[in-house]
Symmetry: C2
């Protein structure tokens, strides 16, 4: 594979720096620079370029706009108490991005070289990483087809780019547990599809259901799957159940990576972390609405939470299901498990604990 090297990076600095606002809605403000790398089937990868943030000029037939040949990643840069900047397990993002690219018929790239280019971009815009233990700089690698023709075919041109956005917390009101709407009428992902990749189509098709959830007074969709109404994901998060299982064992469970579940990096980290603790059983297993309802009746549920890069860990307070508002036990951010996980993860992210999950900028 002929790919670019970070050593070929061309840097065009912006002549001015934008003002950095205080209060931020997620993903609305961007830094001064962006990284772009162009590819064509005839010329291969061009040298990576860091340049002033600005609009893309795209052919109107571009197949990323017609056929959803597009994918993205999401990771964050954290400013520690020591003022150093850290990424959290970024090679897992690079690896997942490469898997998504394969599924989308976009070209392969060198994951380490891309990470080094991203590191340089964050370094250049380092003043944009918030001086805060609860905020961070969100990094959005994006990879789109720029094929300028209408046949449904493998792209002959593509653009990989990375933009940066300073981020507070994803949900406006993250101190409280969120409410979910569970209805089998919409499906997020299905066997033989792309639910295990971060391709755009997974999100666009979910939006309509999201607003139906809001109409029902809930914040997110609890995505169900199949005849037995398996619990799969919540909104754009992986989902965890902390309970006493059918065999009377304390268990933290999340659905297995069977093709319809996004292999979340926070998900993987929570599994690895809690397994290391060895305090309870940690399982990747199917969980159905029937099992959840039985466990709620028998008071075997300790808590449920979503996980993701944007929100990290998010307790679930209610599930509206078949006309009934199921109350999920939770103690906000003070619950033992969610607060212990959140503390261990943020201690690593902000450099209070040394860890090989840390990647220094």
């Amino acid at each position: 594979m002929k790919c670019w090297q970070a050593a070929d990076l061309v840097i065009q600095l912006s002549s001015s720096s934008k003002t950095k606002p205080d209060v931020l809605d997620f993903g609305t403000v961007f830094t001064d620079h962006m990284l772009t790398i162009e590819w064509s089937v005839t010329e291969g990868w061009q040298a990576p370029l860091i340049k002033p943030f600005g609009n893309l000029s795209l052919h109107p037939a571009c197949s990323s706009l017609h056929y959803g040949i597009q994918l993205f990643e999401g990771l964050k840069a954290y400013r520690g108490d020591d003022n150093r900047l850290r990424l959290f397990r970024p090679m897992l993002n690079m690896n997942r991005m490469a898997n998504s690219a394969k599924r989308a018929c976009l070209p392969a790239f060198d994951q380490s070289e891309l990470l080094e280019c991203i590191r340089r971009l964050v370094e250049i815009d380092q003043d944009w990483v918030p001086y805060s233990g609860s905020a961070s700089l969100y990094i959005r690698p994006t990879f789109i087809s720029t094929e300028p023709s209408l046949g449904v075919k493998k792209p002959t041109r593509a653009l990989l780019y990375v933009i940066l956005s300073p981020a507070g917390s994803y949900f406006n009101n993250d101190s409280e547990a969120i409410s979910l709407w569970a209805d089998p009428k919409y499906t997020r992902a299905w066997k033989g599809g792309t639910g295990d990749c971060k391709m755009g189509g997974n999100y666009g098709c979910a939006l309509f259901a999201q607003y139906e959830a809001v109409d029902y007074g809930c914040q997110q969709v609890l995505w169900l799957y199949g005849e037995d109404q398996q619990i799969t994901e919540a909104g754009t998060m992986n989902i965890f159940l902390h309970w006493i299982n059918e065999d009377g064992e304390e268990e933290v469970a999340t659905p297995p990576l069977d093709g319809i579940i996004l292999p979340g990096i926070t998900r993987q980290s929570i599994l690895e972390l809690t397994r290391k603790w060895g305090e309870f059983k940690v399982t990747e297993r199917y969980l159905t609405m029937d099992q959840l309802c039985s466990a709620l009746k028998q008071q075997r549920v300790k808590e449920m939470f979503g996980s993701g890069t944007a929100c990290m860990i998010c307790p679930i307070g209610h599930i509206l299901y078949q006309g009934e508002n199921l109350h999920i036990p939770h103690q906000d951010k003070n619950s033992h498990l969610t607060s212990q996980i959140a503390k261990e993860l943020t201690d690593i992210q902000y450099g209070r604990t040394s860890s090989d999950w840390t990647y220094l900028v």
Copy 2:
């Protein structure tokens, strides 16, 4: 609904006209002008604009590029022997586009006003409609979110645009029957998804399977669904089976619009046309691979074909299924049924038969 009117159309003519090439790959060459109509939640729809064809300037966070909030349509303008230009049932496209927009959380628009704007665009670029009874001008309405932020949410900005591309036939070698690869490992669409809308994500997630079909020496994927391996679509076409059914009746059958099938306009027209003939049973029904294999063994299959705007009607010659290359009877374009359907449709499209399916430009 406050929407634009075609009467508000602003026209900026190109100062030059591009050369019109002879041999064309589908969707690679575009005409001199395009139609663009901008929307924002604060200002509503802007006046429609016809302007010289050119690139779009898009914010790199634009949610059509990240979350597949995008949809399209496809229809054609035909030049008749009388030199008049005709569209074929264009209000069906406008209606389907409105349905897709609702599903994608994009704003509603007035379908008749959009059609009138498209008519004006075709009129302006009328010299681009081929002087040929087998070619046409392909019309591609596109509707994308231009929301410039990264939250997964309803767009606050959008762009509806239309581009035109002179088209020969979709497949390079359309005189021969195509081959299909049938394997349940990939699924095109699923209940609770967007398979009945023309949203980009339906196509991007299908591309990988398409190239696996090519690796197996086939041209397109025959999309199967569910445990019973229902036959749903072929590549980007609806599918028809002409056979003697289980009850010994001659039947033309196509899968019903149950949410996973695109409501094709050629599909609908073939159903209406053959029902009017009254020569055999015409049915929207489930068809499984088992039923097809039995019928092939018992020599009850007369032919199979795909239908779509790009290809119109396309005979199927072989299906590679479970390691076996199933031969499907066909007589190329001379078979009774496919040639009769093709003749009746093209007679309407090119104005040799008068029909209320015709819309004059």
